[in-house]
Amino acid sequence: MGLLYPGALVFFAIVPALVLAYLARERPSRVTVSSVIAFRALRGLRKERFGGRPRLDWMFLVEVVLLSMAVLAMAGPYLVRKSTPIAVVIDNSAAMQAKLDSGFTRFEDAIGKLERKLSATDATETTIFVTTPAPHRIAPPFDSEPEAQIALRGIRSPAPSIVLRNRSRSSAQLIARSSAPISSTPNFSSVPSS
């Protein structure tokens, strides 16, 4: 947290002046009357104030609070929020179905590595993008790591017979468009099976 204009805090010096003014407020002349019954109905009735010693005055407290808030507003406080948002782009195209020596597909291997990576980071916000059938974000950003992992396990890779034509789009483009609605007009082309 910081202040844009710390110099404005000098106006807090008004508060002690206000307290002094409150204490030095002119004391009314005191008159003993037979009864105050008839005075209670007067429009000019004011709150009872101290007669020689300070008493709690709600108006004074309100004045001090308002003044403090005004001075703080002039100082322009700001709050720096520390967070580490992570964007993950997963290629879930058919090419990722190729088997590795370990017996897992590339996609399964990638998901496993990603889960381990997410566990190791202290990400406050995780956004997941996939490339197939069209590049899009799979859900609103996840606030916790378990939610993100569950979402990762739900991603499926399409059948190898379908090839995404526009898979060449860069990850940077996907992330840049993350805040905008993703176009939902997929463009597929079929390739002859081997």
Binding site: E26, R27, P28, S29, R30, V31, T32, V33, S34, S35, V36, I37, A38, F39, R40, A41, L42, R43, G44, L45, R46, K47, E48, R49, G51
Partner: protein, 299 residues
């Protein structure tokens, strides 16, 4: 004169002697007097008949009735007794303020004038002081017009002060009153209306004939001397209020005071009680002689 206030001139006392206390009902007294009593006695006021029995004074046999009925009947007459008069005088701190109005002094004068009317017509008077400081007169009945000097001396020793709850104080006083009679309550009645009504209602419950005399100072009624930003302090409770008094507020204050007096007056009149308002700027003698009916007196 004899320790009485200056206003009690021989001429004024002579005018007071022409007055008598009027009651709406008959009360038993403690001795012979000029008020009809519910007791049977020997006045000229016919009360009832009863059958003659051996030993009755045959002078009271109604011979006309005997001629018509052939039976002996004795005429009964009402008794005439004195009236027991109670005067309750508020001596709380509120009667001291505003000092310029001398409310308590005027209230004492009213009490003495009422007491003199009662004493001069052969009635018995008991003055009871509510709150107050100094020596209070003993709450006993006095009889005879010469006792007014003694009452004046004792009332002169009472100093207004202290606070009290009107209804509770009267309830305590009522416990020690065993005989009904005429009651005068002299106070400024500057208290919560329900306290006043509860207090005065006690006398109604006890079948007393009540006259409420409200004594207010001219300055307190009109709000004179109050101006600007002031802190008013209640003389009895010590409650403080800070008020800003201008012409408009003073008028509002005056109207509130008038409304308070109207409410008490209305309460009294609706219940058949006598009510009189005395403002201290009024000339005392002319007020008293003019407010004879309001005070529950008669010529």
């Amino acid at each position: 004169m004899f320790g009485l206030p200056e206003d009690f001139t021989p001429q004024f006392l002579a005018r007071l002697e022409e007055l008598r206390i009027r009651t709406r009902r008959q009360y038993p007294g403690m001795g012979k007097g000029a008020h009809l009593s519910p007791k049977r006695g020997s006045s000229l006021e016919f009360s009832d008949y009863r059958h003659y029995s051996t030993g009755d004074d045959f002078r009271y046999i109604d011979w006309g009735l005997y001629a018509r009925t052939d039976k002996y009947y004795i005429k009964l007459f009402k008794e005439e007794e004195d009236l027991l008069t109670y005067i309750f005088l508020d001596a709380s701190a509120s009667m001291r303020y505003p000092a310029e109005d001398r409310k308590f002094e005027k209230a004492v004068m009213i009490a003495l004038a009422l007491a003199y009317v009662a004493l001069a017509s052969g009635d018995r008077v008991m003055i009871r002081i509510l709150a107050g400081a100094g020596d209070h007169p003993e709450p006993v009945f006095v009889h005879g017009r010469h006792r007014i000097v003694e009452l004046a001396r004792k009332l002169g020793e009472v100093e207004p002060g202290g606070r009290y709850d009107f209804a509770q104080a009267l309830a305590r006083e009522m416990l020690s009153i065993r005989r009904a009679g005429k009651v005068f309550v002299i106070s400024d009645f500057l208290m919560m209306l329900n306290s006043v009504t509860k207090g005065l209602g006690l006398f109604m419950a006890a079948s007393m004939d009540l006259t409420a005399v409200q004594v207010l100072g001219e300055r307190e009624l009109k709000g004179q001397g109050l101006d600007g930003d002031i802190e008013v302090v209640d003389s009895e409770s010590g409650e403080r209020l800070r008020v800003a008094i201008g012409a408009r507020e003073r008028e509002q204050y005056r109207q509130t005071m008038m409304r308070l007096t109207r409410e008490i007056r209305s309460f009294c009149l609706k219940r058949g009680l006598h009510y009189s308002l005395y403002v201290t700027d009024q000339e005392f003698q002319s007020f008293f002689l003019r407010a004879v009916t309001e005070l529950g007196l008669a010529h």
